[in-house]
Amino acid sequence: MSGSSKKILAGRAWVYGENVNTDVIIPARYLNTSDPERLAPHCMEDIDSAFADGVAQGDIIVAGNNFGCGSSREHAPIAIMASGISCVIAGSFGRIFFRNAINIGLPILECPEAALSSAVSKGDRIEADLQTGRVLNITNGREFASNPIPEFLQSLFSAGGLVPYVRKRLESAS
C-alpha cells in the first residue's frame, strides 16, 4: 500500500495501553514465515485473542506510549497492516517499529492526547487525517493534534516507503 493513496482514514478503534511490544503484536513462535496472510491471524493474539477475528478493514489501533517496543521484527507492522488496520495512533512509538512502519507504508500518528485513556474507548469511530495529523473521535466529538513527522520521513512515506526510494537511487547510480 502506498502512503499517498488515502489521506483521511476512518475506522473503529481498538484501544490498548502502554508498552505494547512486538512479541505480543506477533509472537516469535509464528516467525518461521514472513507471509502477511499467515501472520495476520495471530496479530495481537497474546494480549487480545478477540482482535484477529473481530478486526475489520480500515479499523484503527489507538494505544499508549512506546507502541511497538522490543524486537526489530518488521513482521509486527506487516501483521497489523495485513489484518486490515488502516492506521496506528499512539502516544509514542518504539524507534524500530516507527522506522519499519514508515518503510512499509503503514500510517502511524504520534498523538499523545488521543492516547490518554479517557480520549478514546474501544469501538469509537475515529478519523485520522494523515496530511494534517488531526485525529477526530467522531463518537465523542473530541479532536486531537499529532506531533509532526519530519519532512524527510514524510517524503519517504509518500513515495511508498523505502523500497521505491532505494530502487530510484540504484537506478540513478547505474
Binding site: N19, V24, N32, S34, D46, Y165, R167, L170
Partner: protein
C-alpha cells in the same frame, strides 16, 4: 559545543550537519541479519532491484534464532538465507560454527570501535560495549543498507550514565542494567543514546559491558555506548579484522540528562514479569517458586557468565522441580567451558547443555514454557508470552541469581548459598 560519542561517530560517517534531532545520511560499516530477518530482507533487496550487496565482507547473515532448524518452515528460511549468502559471497557461518549473533560478531573482530553497525535484530545495540554505534533495524532497512551501504539516522539525544563506586563480587552487568532500566523506565531512553562513564567502568569487565549495552533497547535506546578505554581497546586489538579509529565524546558535549549510579549500593537484582523495568532485589522476591532456568543468550551467554553460573552450581544439584538449560552463546565460549571443565559441572548438577542458539529466549525452541509456568532467565525480555504460553512468566536475572535460583527452586540471591 562539543559532541557526544554518538554524534562523533555519526559525524565521521556523514557529510550532513550533525546535531541532536537532525536526520543524516550515514555510511554503514557493517550490516547483517539472522535467519528470521534475513529471508524477508533478501526479498526486499530484490524488490529494490539490488544485484550485489555493497561489500560482501561487510554484510553478513547469521543463522542463530531457529537453528539447528526447529521445523520445516524454519529450515526453509535458513535455506533461503544460506543460498543468498553463497550467491553474494557474503559472510555466513553454518550451524556448528556460528554463535548467537551479538556474542559471535565481536568475538570474530567484525565489529570494532568507532564504526556504525546495523543489524536486523534489536539487540544490535550490544556493540556499544566496544565503542561502536550499533543499532537494530527491520528487514527493509537492512535490505536498503545491503544495496546502498548507507542509511538515514536521526541523531539521538544522549543520556550520560555515570557509574561510580566499587561493585560487589555478587553483581555484574545484568544487575546494573536492570537497575538502570528500573530507574529510567522502559522508554526512558526512547530514541536516545545511553553513554556510559564513571570510575566504576574500569572495574566492569568486557563481558559485563556487552550485557549492559545489549539491554539499552529495553529502555527504548537507539544505542548504549561505553567510552573506549584500555579494556575496550585491548579486546578490540586482539580480535579486529579491520583497522579502526575509536571515537570519543568531547569534554563539553551536551547531554539531555545525567543519571548517576553508585554501583557499591547495587544488590543482586531481577526484573519481574512482564517488563525489563520491573526491577527489584532478588532477596525481595525469594518466595517466587520457579519451573525453569535459562542461562545463555546474547545478554549473558559469554564465558564469564558461564563461569559465574558454574561457580554456584559446582558440587550442587538443580532443584528437583526445576529444569535448567545452559546454552553457551558461541563455540568459542562452548570450547572454553569444555576446557575449564564447566560443562561437566552443569551436567553433574543435572542441567541440560545445548548447542549455541538463541533457543528459548524468544520462545523459539529448546525450552518453551507451559501455561502457568515461571522461569528465571538470563536473557533480555520478559514480555507476555516471550518464552511460551501467554500465561507463563519470566523473571530476568544475571547468571549468579539464575544458578542460585536453579538450586533452590525459587528466585534466590546467590549470597544465600555462600558458606
Amino acid at each position: 559545543m562539543g559532541r557526544t560519542i554518538a554524534e562523533a561517530i555519526i559525524a565521521s560517517r556523514t557529510t550532513d550537519r550533525v546535531s541532536a534531532g537532525a536526520i543524516c545520511q550515514v555510511k554503514v560499516d557493517f550490516a547483517f541479519a539472522n535467519d528470521i530477518t534475513g529471508p524477508p530482507a533478501i526479498e526486499e533487496f530484490k524488490r529494490m532491484g539490488g544485484v550485489r550487496v555493497f561489500d560482501p565482507d561487510r554484510c553478513a547473515i547469521l543463522p542463530d534464532h531457529f537453528t539447528p532448524n526447529k521445523d520445516i518452515a524454519s529450515a526453509g528460511q535458513a535455506k533461503i538465507a544460506r543460498l543468498f549468502a553463497r550467491e553474494q559471497g557474503m559472510l555466513y557461518w553454518e550451524v556448528g560454527r556460528v554463535g548467537v549473533e551479538h556474542a559471535f560478531l565481536p568475538e570474530q573482530g567484525l565489529v570494532v570501535p568507532g564504526e556504525i553497525v546495523v543489524g536486523g535484530d534489536s539487540h544490535t545495540c550490544t556493540y556499544g560495549a566496544v565503542g561502536a554505534l550499533g543499532t537494530g533495524m527491520g528487514q527493509t532497512d537492512i535490505a536498503g543498507i545491503w544495496a546502498l551501504g548507507e542509511t538515514w539516522l536521526r541523531v539521538p539525544e544522549t543520556i550520560k550514565v555515570v557509574l561510580s563506586g566499587h561493585p560487589s563480587k555478587w553483581i555484574g552487568g545484568k544487575d546494573l542494567i536492570i537497575h538502570l532500566i528500573g530507574m529510567i523506565g522502559v522508554e526512558g531512553a526512547r530514541y536516545r543514546s545511553l553513554e556510559f562513564h564513571g570510575d566504576a567502568v574500569a572495574e566492569i569487565p568486557q563481558d559485563d559491558r556487552f550485557t549492559m549495552s545489549n539491554m539499552a533497547i529495553e529502555a527504548g535506546g537507539k544505542c548504549g555506548i561505553f567510552v573506549p578505554d584500555e579494556t575496550t581497546l585491548a579486546y578490540a586489538r586482539a580480535r579486529a579484522r579491520r583497522d579502526f579509529t575509536p571515537a570519543y565524546p568531547d569534554g563539553d558535549a551536551r547531554y539531555e540528562r545525567v543519571v548517576e549510579i553508585d554501583v557499591s549500593k547495587i544488590e543482586p537484582t531481577v526484573a519481574l514479569p512482564h517488563l525489563p523495568g520491573n526491577s527489584i532485589t532478588a532477596r525481595e522476591c525469594s518466595k517466587m517458586e520457579i519451573d525453569q532456568v535459562f542461562i545463555g543468550s546474547c545478554t549473558n551467554g559469554r564465558i564469564s557468565d558461564i563461569e559465574k553460573a558454574a561457580s554456584i552450581l559446582k558440587g550442587r544439584r538443580v532443584h528437583d522441580n526445576v529444569r535448567l538449560m545452559v546454552i553457551p552463546a558461541s563455540y568459542e565460549v562452548y570450547n572454553r567451558a569444555l576446557d575449564l571443565g564447566l560443562i561437566r559441572v552443569f551436567t553433574d548438577a543435572g542441567a541440560s547443555v545445548c548447542t549455541p542458539t538463541c533457543g528459548p529466549c524468544m520462545g523459539g525452541h529448546l525450552g518453551i514454557l507451559a501455561k502457568g509456568e515461571r522461569a528465571v532467565s538470563t536473557s533480555n525480555r520478559n514480555f507476555v508470552g516471550r518464552m511460551g504460553h501467554p500465561e507463563s512468566e519470566i523473571v530476568l536475572a544475571g547468571p549468579m541469581v539464575a544458578a542460585a535460583s536453579a538450586v533452590l527452586g525459587r528466585v534466590a540471591d546467590p549470597r544465600e548459598l555462600d558458606s
